[in-house]
């Protein structure tokens, strides 16, 4: 239940309880603050990226109770009592790859599935969600179901390879250094 905590000149603030990457956060937030801006500006979790702020590019993809969502399209106040996983917490979901990384993180490096790196956190969170959904059974389906995440550097085929490999094998494999 949301509690209105303040009716100061800055506008009404609401108290929101979030579990972000397993850690409880108790924040006061104006009702018009998006989850994305709360993460980036309010909590310093800048791993989640802003690419359009309109739900058109997927750069801000995070996991909300395990489902992939665009954080720019969610108001923070609607996320009370929800669990959020951002790129900063993805590794702790399945830290099986080298260096305590998630297999997808390792696979992205192995397949060179990024260049500038700006869409990458969203791609990886989206891929975590995709695998959990269980709808993708081929590389072509991975391509289709990863199409909500734009990559202007054009790393698409490497992204498809990385995600498909983890989906199929559960690991990043040994494709390079």
């Amino acid at each position: 239940m949301l509690q209105r905590t303040d009716a100061s000149q800055r506008g009404e603030l609401y108290r929101v309880k979030l579990a972000i990457n397993g850690a409880p956060h108790d924040v006061e937030v104006a009702p018009w603050v998006t989850l994305l801006d709360l993460l980036r500006e309010g909590l310093g979790l800048t791993g989640t990226k802003k690419g359009c702020d309109h739900g058109q590019c997927g750069a801000c993809t995070v996991l909300l109770d395990g489902m992939r969502v665009n954080a720019c399209l969610l108001l923070a106040v609607t996320c009370d009592d929800r669990a959020i996983t951002t790129i900063e917490g993805v590794a702790s979901l399945e830290p099986t790859a080298g260096g305590g990384l998630h297999p997808l993180q390792d696979a992205f490096m192995d397949h060179d599935a990024f260049q500038c790196g700006y869409c990458t956190p969203g791609q990886i969170c989206s891929a975590v969600g995709l695998i959990a959904e269980g709808h993708a059974h081929s590389r072509d389906e991975v391509r289709e179901l990863m199409s909500g995440n734009l990559c202007r550097c054009g790393a698409y085929s490497n992204i498809a390879d990385a995600v498909w490999q983890v989906l199929r094998d559960g690991t990043a494999g040994e494709g390079g250094r």
């Binding site: 690419g51 058109q56 590019c57 260096g99 500038c116 391509r143 550097c153 054009g154 790393a155």
Partner: protein
């Protein structure tokens, strides 16, 4: 001093190597410009012009100023003083003209031009207040329709530095064309394209207590932005430092200093506090772009396919205030051998911001038209399109009559064709099908200038044996961090983890903007030279050590491995670098070195990278639905430093080329003079599902005139030719020639 940096084996150079910045990027720890925090950070939000041409009569900001949290609203009517001379606003890569000055006057040159900046305590307050700012305008007639403005086209009086104007005519085009047995002539139209890197422009200005500014900016040149900001605001160079450690894509759009940097610094100086300004995706469409282009190409050949006449004319859009120029038609005078050529290029003023170099500027546009026309000529002559190109292979650059420093394009043709299965192509269009789909094979040549520029780099060896190399370069996703680490690691025989690469900071050694595909060859060479110089110093100190086993050793006789210098044939006879430092009583060893292009060689040779692109398209015969299931890009780019990141560079170019061929199109409302599709939902870029198999192969090419690394750079060659290969494949599949890009469903069915 012979550079020895990349001669040692086994090493990292030439081997597929993971990006050294990968761990930071896959964990979200790589910080981009808008992600730095500062105490008391204020937020700026830009208000954009609603009209395309005219004058701002009044900014009405009272309601916005009433909003809680709003600090101040800047506009042309209320802003701190800035430099008055154009020269101060002319950055390192500015074209001729009067550079745009945000809030410079009441004049409106283009829609979405910034007219006000709302600064507030929070991002939300600034955004909401900005929505309350309105303006009254005096509206004048805008010009955004290049087709109409073609009649007003002019030869730019002042030429842009570094861009060769079209060469003078050779032979007699008109006579040769008239007499030739086979000829074609056609118009090719390109829609404006927008770079749209995933990271929107943003600048965080952190103001220190002493008033000095640390500017985190999205740019391809920290030193370019620093010099520009210092000039614009009259700041001592020592009072400003620009950092761009990570750049979320750019593709050319961050070559010139951006409005977010100007406005953030303006607000920071006026308010004496730290400020962040970020653009919206809509505002990203108010930046420089790949210009509209209207082109006419006329080609003629003999029955044998030998080119007899080449004419290429292009008219490109530019802004009302600058003459942006590219080399568009020049490629038609050099890519194939021909004695009779006539090339011309003109500009028409449009109410847009000044176009800005976008991935292989000029070549992407011009070579598209040439290579589509070559396909038309091949069809007219009844000759295989690949064979036509081979028959017209140029051994010298026709524009300058210089020999090529290297040109393995023939290998690209042969190996690319073999990999693709070009021999299975039926000559006649519309002759291949599978089920409901028409199948087409198309190909095109790609070419891009291979350039090197002066770069200075520093190398520092610490007592613990770790090596740091640095230069004010930028990595916009290109892999610069990684290749510099590879080069440095090989120089000292170190594992990659022992090497730190520092780039993206104006405080580092001199480096021009990162663009033109020159960074790998130039920054790479400078790092290699700095390492070589550092090794000389280390060996000289080692020789002087008491009872040194290396007392008589020359550089050729020693090897640097794992923090030691030892005789090449006797690893036991050597000293550790830590001991060298200790003996010299130094905490570290340091050298700086500059790479300078050999102007004499550059005067004698023409240097280009080349590619041959082969594409298969499939078109649903009834629905017109089109896909590109596979594409082969065979590239001659000199020595490949890192096949893994090099391949990605080409993939990226190809994907943007597919966007150009099939998706990307800025659509203007000619009544309002505004772009209609200024967002990712309506300005289509390729998505994962659009991209089929892309096979990249690098052919063997030995280059020794462009610096000792033998590298040509790969950031741009991947896009050149790609759109033409796809368009030509579409003709081959359907028999329908669509010359206006992008080739969308309506054009295919219409």
């Amino acid at each position: 001093m012979p550079p020895t940096a990349i001669s040692q084996a086994p090493g990292f150079v030439g081997r597929p190597t993971r990006r050294v910045d990968g761990p930071l990027k896959v964990t979200g720890r790589a910080k981009y410009a808008a992600e730095y925090d500062a105490p008391g950070l204020a937020y700026g939000y830009i208000v954009s012009s609603a009209v395309a041409a005219g004058r701002v009569l009044a900014i009405e900001a009272d309601a916005a100023l009433q909003m809680p949290g709003v600090i101040r609203i800047f506009s042309h009517a209320d802003r701190p003083a800035t430099a008055t001379a154009d020269k101060a606003w002319q950055d390192e890569v500015a074209p001729p003209g009067h550079p745009f000055r945000p809030f410079g006057s009441d004049e409106i040159h283009f829609a979405l031009q910034p007219i006000a900046l709302v600064v507030a305590e929070t991002y939300e307050a600034a955004r909401d207040a900005a929505s309350l700012v309105t303006a009254r305008y005096e509206v004048t007639q805008h010009r955004v329709d290049l087709k109409r403005e073609r009649a007003t086209a002019y030869d730019p009086p002042e030429k842009r530095a570094g861009i060769p104007p079209p060469p003078a005519p050779r032979g007699d085009f008109a006579q040769a064309y008239a007499d030739a047995p086979v000829k074609i002539s056609a118009d090719y139209v390109l829609a404006p394209e927008y770079h749209n890197p995933m990271e929107m422009f943003g600048t965080t200005v952190v103001r220190n207590d002493d008033g000095k500014l640390l500017v985190f900016d999205k740019t391809q040149g920290s030193q370019n932005v620093k010099a520009y900001l210092a000039g614009v605001f009259g700041l001592p160079e020592g009072d400003i430092r620009v950092v761009n450690a990570y750049v979320g894509g750019a593709f050319g759009t961050a070559l010139r200093p951006n409005m977010s940097a100007v406005l953030a610094v303006m607000a920071s100086l006026a308010l004496e506090r730290s400020v962040r300004v970020t653009l919206t995706r809509e505002q990203m469409f108010a930046l420089g772009y790949r210009p509209h282009m209207e082109q006419t190409v006329s080609l003629a050949c003999g029955r044998d396919g030998k080119l007899l006449a080449v004419h290429h004319d292009a008219v490109s859009g530019t802004s009302p205030f600058e003459d942006y120029q590219e080399a568009v038609v020049n490629w038609s005078g050099m890519l194939y051998a021909c004695a009779n050529t006539k090339l011309s290029y003109a500009l028409a003023k449009l109410n847009t911001n000044t176009p800005c170099d976008m991935r292989a500027p000029g070549a992407t546009s011009g070579v598209y038209a040439l290579e589509a026309a070559m396909d038309e000529l091949a069809h007219a002559a009844g000759i295989d399109p690949l064979e036509l190109r081979i028959r017209n292979f140029s051994e010298r650059d026709g524009n300058t009559d210089k020999p090529y420093s290297s040109k393995a394009l023939m290998l690209c043709y042969r190996e690319g064709a073999a990999r693709f299965g070009w021999s299975r192509r039926q000559l006649a269009p519309r002759s291949m099908r599978e089920g409901n789909e028409l199948v087409g094979f198309g190909m095109a040549t790609g070419v891009w200038e291979a350039m090197v520029v002066p770069v200075t780099a520093k190398a520092i060896l610490s007592a613990d044996g770790a090596l740091e190399v640095s230069t004010a370069s930028s990595d916009i996703g290109t892999g610069t961090y990684t290749i510099l680490a590879q080069i440095a690691a090989d120089a000292f025989g170190l594992p990659l983890e022992r090497v730190t690469v520092r780039i993206g900071d104006s405080a580092l050694s001199a480096h021009p903007v990162e663009g033109g595909s020159w960074t790998a060859a130039s920054a790479g060479a400078s790092v290699s030279l700095a390492c070589a110089k550092l090794k000389e110093q280390a060996l000289a100190r080692a020789r002087r050590m008491t009872n040194s086993p290396l007392a008589q050793a020359a550089m050729e006789e020693v090897a640097f491995t794992d923090g030691r210098i030892a005789l090449a044939g006797d690893a036991g006879r050597g000293v550790s670098l830590a001991d060298v430092l200790r003996a010299s009583d130094l905490g570290h060893l340091e050298e700086e070195a500059s790479f300078t292009p050999d102007e004499k060689l550059a005067g004698r040779y023409a240097s280009y990278s080349h590619a041959a692109v082969f594409a298969e398209v499939r078109v649903d015969e009834e629905l017109g639905v089109l896909r590109v299931p596979r594409l082969v890009s065979a590239v001659a780019g000199g020595k490949i430093l890192n096949p893994k990141t090099a391949r990605s560079q080409i993939l990226g170019g190809v994907v943007m080329g597919l966007g150009m061929a099939l998706h990307e199109e800025g659509l203007f409302d000619h009544d309002l003079g505004r772009l209609m599709n200024h967002n990712y939902a309506e300005y289509h870029v390729p998505v994962n599902a659009d991209i089929g198999d892309i096979d990249v192969l690098f052919v063997d090419e030995h280059e020794d005139k462009l610096g000792h690394l033998g590298v040509k750079g790969l950031g741009e060659i991947g896009i050149v030719g790609t759109a033409a290969a796809v368009a030509n494949a579409i003709f081959h599949a359907t028999g329908k020639r669509v010359r206006d890009l992008p080739i969308t469903l309506d054009k295919l069915l219409g």
